[in-house]
């Protein structure tokens, strides 16, 4: 099952990742992304139909925790690095602007 050959768009990807990309940089990043994908894509030359997908080496380890409460952080510490707070909540620029009611 081959990966779809849909071309990656540097512009679209940068927008999704909220990374500002000057127009002059777009062709550069575009070609870098393509060569990265080509490199990874080499695996498709192999016949892997009978191979189970691999998600990690720690199979059977099942590290889990017991559902027991631990002490949370002091709120002052939680909020310490926030650009803006009211002492209880993080404050962020309005998600809905004035116009869009």
């Amino acid at each position: 099952m081959g990966r779809s050959k849909k071309k990656i768009s540097a512009e679209h990807t940068s927008r999704l990742a909220r990374i500002e990309l000057p127009p002059s940089q777009i062709p550069v990043v575009q070609s870098e992304l393509e060569s990265l994908l080509d490199f990874v894509g080499r695996i498709e030359q192999l016949d892997l139909d009978s191979v189970e997908p691999f998600f990690g080496i720690a199979i059977d380890a099942n590290p889990m925790r017991t559902d027991r409460q631990e002490t949370s952080c002091d709120r002052t510490d939680t909020l310490r690095n926030a650009p803006q707070t009211d002492g209880e909540s993080f404050l962020v620029p309005p998600v809905f602007g004035k116009q869009e009611s």
Partner: protein, 489 residues
């Protein structure tokens, strides 16, 4: 133009699992705490913090999956769903994409009063994920800052996704009622919609049988559904709106993208919120901070063993063992497990399921609803209720006074004897009854004449008169006695 429109509905239900702590850290999940007091480096997404799975959340997810007849994924893993929003501190949500813990289940609709009963709704998947934080927007709409509280961030959710198998708002409501009963019975969630423990989104469109063949309208995802009743209303509204829209522009599912619309319960309509992003835009990929979780057949069997009778089975038992009609069984089971337990305890002793069911439905439920009391806190326990019904069965308590006695028992939390005593109800001995009947017969020769002429209804007058002489007279016993004493032709 007239076309036959069929409503196609699929549901996405987010269930907050009943754990003490979050999915990947030890912060409490209790509702209503002061903002940002239940947070730590893991759930606020501090760099370097590592998530560790909560064993109970996984177990509750598997339990739900088994109750919904799902296959359990032996090697489940975690994916990052990437998007930017202020209440998502890491910039991604830990979720499950291609190997959800539960897949391919089903739930049969049960509604004795509807043709939908017995229809099967397929469950596509149920996966675990962490909740986002809570944003509070400036209510004055003056452009003030949005407040973010991360207490909810990282709370375990099970997202249950159905196939588009539902065909009306009513069916969706029936499905949700049954699902909620199951979740409550399994103690998987408190299912409190007001506190957001149960959130429902509905995907709705129409299949239209036209002269040019079958067509479908664009899919709309409805959000802001805060009660099962809203789900029902929103689906019915949306079906009507889509039909009108289709008559106007004829746009089909291939010509317009999926929309998200919000339900406004007070106005009774849906409002366009946004055009849905393509799911590939979330750029899911396996979370490298978490490993595969392996679930063995033995794990599954031990969880399965903890599941006792589910609501569907309890209805069957009420019908077969206690001989209740389907309607009664449904009403009782819809009250939850404790209520059914109460019924079974009483009915096992009273040996008349229908009598017990009638009293539970008509009087007990009415009283509990009126006083907003839960069956757990019922002022009359099962033994007292048995005693009460036995008094009726053996004529120690006349059915004409039974409701008063029951009310007294409920309001004062007392036994049937105490209630009868405080209402001044005593059983007359047969001598006393005979004397009262004799007096009434002596004083009312004209009524006797009517009865003898064939107006048998007039006997009710005599019974009434015995009762006004002594309110403890049992009408049925008085009738019997009067009939015995009436002069023969």
């Amino acid at each position: 133009m007239s076309v036959k429109a069929t409503i196609i509905v699929g549901l996405e239900v987010h269930v907050q699992l009943a754990t003490e702590t979050k999915l990947f850290c030890g912060c409490a999940t209790a509702f209503g705490a002061s903002p940002n007091t239940q947070t730590c480096p893991v759930c606020i997404g501090a760099p370097g913090a590592l998530p560790v799975l909560n064993r109970k959340a996984l177990k509750l997810a598997i339990k739900t999956g088994l109750a919904l007849n799902c296959e359990i994924e032996p090697n489940t893993h975690w994916d990052r769903k990437n998007y930017f929003y202020p209440d998502l501190p890491k910039g991604y949500q830990i979720s499950q994409f291609d190997r959800p813990i539960c897949r391919k289940g089903y739930l049969d609709l049960i509604d004795p009063q509807s043709v939908s009963s017995g229809r099967r709704v397929n469950i596509e998947r149920a996966h675990l994920e962490e909740d986002a934080g809570k944003s509070s927007h400036d209510e004055t709409m003056q452009g003030g800052p949005t407040k973010i509280d991360f207490n909810r961030a990282g709370t375990p959710l099970l997202e249950i996704v159905t196939q588009p198998d539902l065909r009306s708002g009513h069916e969706a409501k029936t499905f949700l009622n049954e699902l909620k009963l199951i979740l409550s019975s399994l103690k998987v969630s408190d299912c409190n919609m007001q506190e957001g423990s149960l959130r429902v989104d509905a995907n709705v469109n129409l299949s239209l049988a036209t002269q040019e063949g079958n067509q479908a309208t664009p899919i709309v995802e409805i959000k802001n559904l805060n009660s099962f009743r809203s789900v029902e209303r929103a689906i019915e509204f949306e079906a009507e709106r889509q039909l009108q829209q289709w008559n106007k522009d004829g746009m089909t599912i291939d010509q317009a993208p999926k929309q998200t619309r919000g339900w406004d319960d007070s106005k009774g309509h849906t409002v366009l919120q946004r055009i849905k992003e393509d799911s590939a835009d979330y750029r899911y990929f396996p979370d490298p901070d978490l490993v595969v979780i392996r679930t063995t057949q033995a794990d599954i069997e031990s969880i399965q063993a903890e599941i006792k009778s589910l609501p569907a089975e309890r209805r069957q038992i009420l019908m077969s063992r206690y001989l209740l009609p389907a309607y009664d069984a449904d009403v009782l089971v819809n009250q939850g497990d404790t209520f059914v337990d109460f019924f079974e305890t009483v009915a096992d002793q009273v040996k008349d399921g229908k009598l017990v069911s009638n009293w539970l439905q008509q009087e007990l439920l009415r009283h509990l609803n009126a006083t907003q009391t839960d069956i757990q806190a019922c002022p009359v326990n099962a033994n007292q209720f048995v005693d009460f019904l036995t008094h009726i069965q053996t004529n120690q308590l006349d059915s004409s006074r039974a409701k008063d006695v029951f009310e007294q028992m409920m309001s004062d939390s007392v036994s049937v004897e105490q209630a009868m005593k405080s209402l001044g109800i005593e059983n007359l001995d047969s001598e006393e009854l005979t004397a009262i009947c004799q007096r009434v017969l002596d004083e009312n020769p004209e009524i006797i004449a009517q009865i003898l002429k064939g107006n048998t209804k007039a006997i009710g007058n005599l019974i009434g008169k015995t009762k006004s002489l002594n309110k403890n007279v049992s009408p049925s016993q008085a009738r019997e006695q009067i009939l015995k004493m009436l002069p023969k032709h």
